[in-house]
């Protein structure tokens, strides 16, 4: 429906011959504006280089992962240097500010978190995608110097955390291809929102 209103209002604006707000029919959707097929011509073109400089995100398919590689053993050193002061020497966290990163509580192995809020949700038992670990570390960690880890160090500390959570082996080395292929224990546990209002409580 709105698209029809948009099209009509744009047509009316065009018929006014000016497109600068002189249309006599007021349609709040466009409130004047350019004729069909034209733009406000505000802003400027983004260059590929400036988009590339900003576009740091990584998705589960691995798009956006940089070149580089790192081992879990190297990651242990990165963790001790850059992470342990807040998250604890073994990823146990410091409540409430610094979350537990490592742990596979037996009660969490069946993903029964809805039965007991005290079961710790960690990378090992709750995070559905390994790429998320890499993406979050790269954009936000360590908190005192976000963005300070190299690509190799980020792969390494991701490998360390996945190994400490027993998702991958202690000797594992991660690069972009290996990271995308990591199947997280909680990968298939997430469902889309089925709440729609109405009489049912979900």
């Amino acid at each position: 429906m709105r698209r029809i209103v948009m099209a009509m209002s744009a047509w009316l604006a065009a018929c006014s011959g000016t497109g600068d707000g002189a249309a006599t029919t007021h349609v709040s959707r466009t409130n004047g504006g350019p004729p069909p097929g034209q733009h406000f011509e505000l802003g400027r073109a983004a260059t590929p280089a400036e988009v590339a400089a900003l576009d740091l995100d990584v998705n589960p398919a691995g798009a956006g992962l940089p070149a580089g590689r790192g081992s879990a053993s190297d990651g242990a050193k990165v963790y001790a240097r850059a992470c342990a002061s807040c998250h604890g020497p073994n990823g146990e966290g410091i409540a409430p500010l610094y979350p537990q990163l490592v742990g596979r509580d037996p009660a969490g192995e069946t993903f029964d978190f809805a039965k007991d809020p005290r079961i710790a949700r960690t990378i090992g038992n709750y995070w559905p995608y390994a790429t998320t670990v890499f993406d979050y570390i790269r954009r936000a960690m360590p908190q005192t110097a976000p963005g300070s880890l190299s690509a190799d160090d980020t792969y390494a500390v991701t490998a360390y955390l996945l190994a400490a959570n027993k998702v991958i082996g202690a000797e594992a080395v991660l690069d972009s291809a290996a990271l995308v292929n990591v199947k997280m224990p909680a990968r298939d546990r997430f469902v889309r929102d089925d709440r729609r209002g109405g009489h049912e409580v979900r």
């Binding site: 802003g43 400036e50 954009r139 469902v191 209002g197």
Partner: protein
């Protein structure tokens, strides 16, 4: 590096600890930029001396005009707690009336502190599945068609502490202070997306903030093209820094975290990015060994804000007044019970009742000095009725997380003292 035993888990982390940790990985610039952390549990405003009031204010000339107004010295609403870099602060609903939240009392929730951003240098880059990747300055954005609309914002973690541990001394601020209601001004997002020309396969949009964690959320394009706004003003003035200055995404009725602050980038794509904030956080464990993801809509909810803890009431007539809201449109009915839900009374809804905005309700009550349990129950235009705690935990499990919207209220004892009641 601090020694290994510098941060035993039984002790609160201090700013000194964080600085010690920072010294190993960062330079002096990062240390200098760290806000105070250790004050997290302290009151945000120290007690002020009582104001000196003339015996007869009509016989003494008053104070002159001032560049910026201040509250009466008798009125000192404050957000609590304060001082956390990754924390939250809560709107003091027990101190407020009407529906609009004063900008300086809007709740805060941020994950890496509040960034300081120069609006003259801030830009929004839109790219990905678009015909024309573009960069917009704040001046560019303000030249698009503008709208001004009132919407609530609620963190989907609102009420977690009160749900897990319903202590009797909880106030409305502690129970539901991660809710605020604001008149926002900005540009409809669809106008911007039409300017860049989304390609036909664009179904998701990544929104990224310019804070120190570059917070990201994946948003369905359908919402972006529906009622989403890019806003730069709240209650008639530029956004407060803690609310996203100079630009934030505003997704009416959707959980607060998805309303990305300090917005600097929008990327159009064909699938969600599965960011940290939409996987490890802001997902809702369900019975059946699953978790609900992308649970954006805020369900209907209400709370009585007067009377409330820490007040004591006296016999006689008074309004039972509070707030009701739903992310699915308009509130159509609010009922008040004074007997713990055995009987309900329709409350008056104060006009205007706006879609996806807070509605004030009230019902006149004559208290006769007996024990009472005050509850409120909201219904929205979809027919959804605010559930009891039992209904909610039956549907989701006792470990349910986020979206706590069960019926709650205030127990009144025969002396008139109020205590929080977390619902049944």
């Amino acid at each position: 590096m601090p020694p290994r035993d510098a941060n035993p888990p039984d002790r609160a982390l201090t700013r000194r600890d964080l600085l010690a940790g920072a010294a190993g990985v960062a330079g002096a610039a990062a240390i200098a930029s760290l806000p105070a952390l250790g004050a997290a549990q302290q009151a945000s405003v120290p007690a002020a001396p009582p104001p000196v009031v003339p015996a007869d204010p009509t016989k003494v000339v008053g104070t002159p005009t001032a560049a910026v107004g201040t509250r009466s010295p008798f009125v000192r609403p404050t957000r609590v707690p304060t001082g956390d870099i990754q924390g939250f602060s809560l709107t003091p609903h027990g101190d407020l009336t009407g529906t609009i939240t004063p900008a300086d009392l809007h709740f805060e929730r941020h994950h890496a502190g509040v960034p300081l951003i120069d609006p003259a240098r801030h830009t929004l880059t839109v790219h990905g599945k678009v015909a024309r990747p573009m960069v917009f300055s704040m001046d560019d954005l303000r030249r698009f068609p503008q709208v001004t609309r009132t919407y609530f914002l609620e963190c989907s973690g609102n009420g977690r502490a009160a749900f897990r541990d319903p202590k009797p001394d909880l106030t409305p601020q502690r129970v539901a202070g991660l809710l605020s209601n604001t008149e926002w001004t900005g540009v409809p997002l669809h106008a911007l997306l039409e300017e860049v020309g989304m390609t036909g396969d664009a179904t998701w949009m990544l929104a990224e903030g310019g804070d120190a964690c570059m917070l990201t959320r994946s948003i369905p394009v359908a919402k972006a093209m529906d009622d989403a706004l890019l806003v730069w003003a709240q209650n008639g003035e530029p956004l407060r820094p803690e609310n996203g200055f100079p630009l934030r995404l505003l997704l009416p009725g959707w959980e607060g975290n998805s309303n990305v602050k300090w917005l600097r980038r929008l990327e159009l794509g064909t699938a969600p990015w599965m960011t940290r904030w939409e996987t490890s956080k802001y997902t809702d464990p369900l019975l059946g060994q699953k978790a609900r993801q992308f649970s954006f809509d805020m369900d209907a909810k209400s709370m009585i804000t007067s009377p409330c803890v820490p007040q004591a009431i006296t016999k006689g007539w008074r309004p039972v007044s509070g707030l009701a809201w739903t992310g699915r449109g308009r509130i159509t009915r609010v009922e008040v019970s004074v007997d713990g839900g055995s009987s309900w009374h329709d409350a008056a809804l104060h006009e205007p009742v706006l879609s996806k905005a807070v509605t004030r309700f009230s019902w006149m009550w004559h208290w006769q000095g007996k024990s009472a349990l005050l509850l409120s129950r909201a219904t929205d235009e979809t027919g959804y009725v605010q559930p009891t705690r039992t209904e909610l935990t039956t549907a989701r499990g006792p470990g349910t997380d986020y979206h706590f919207n069960q019926i709650v209220g205030w127990q009144v004892d025969p002396s008139g003292q109020l205590t929080y009641h977390g619902g049944r």
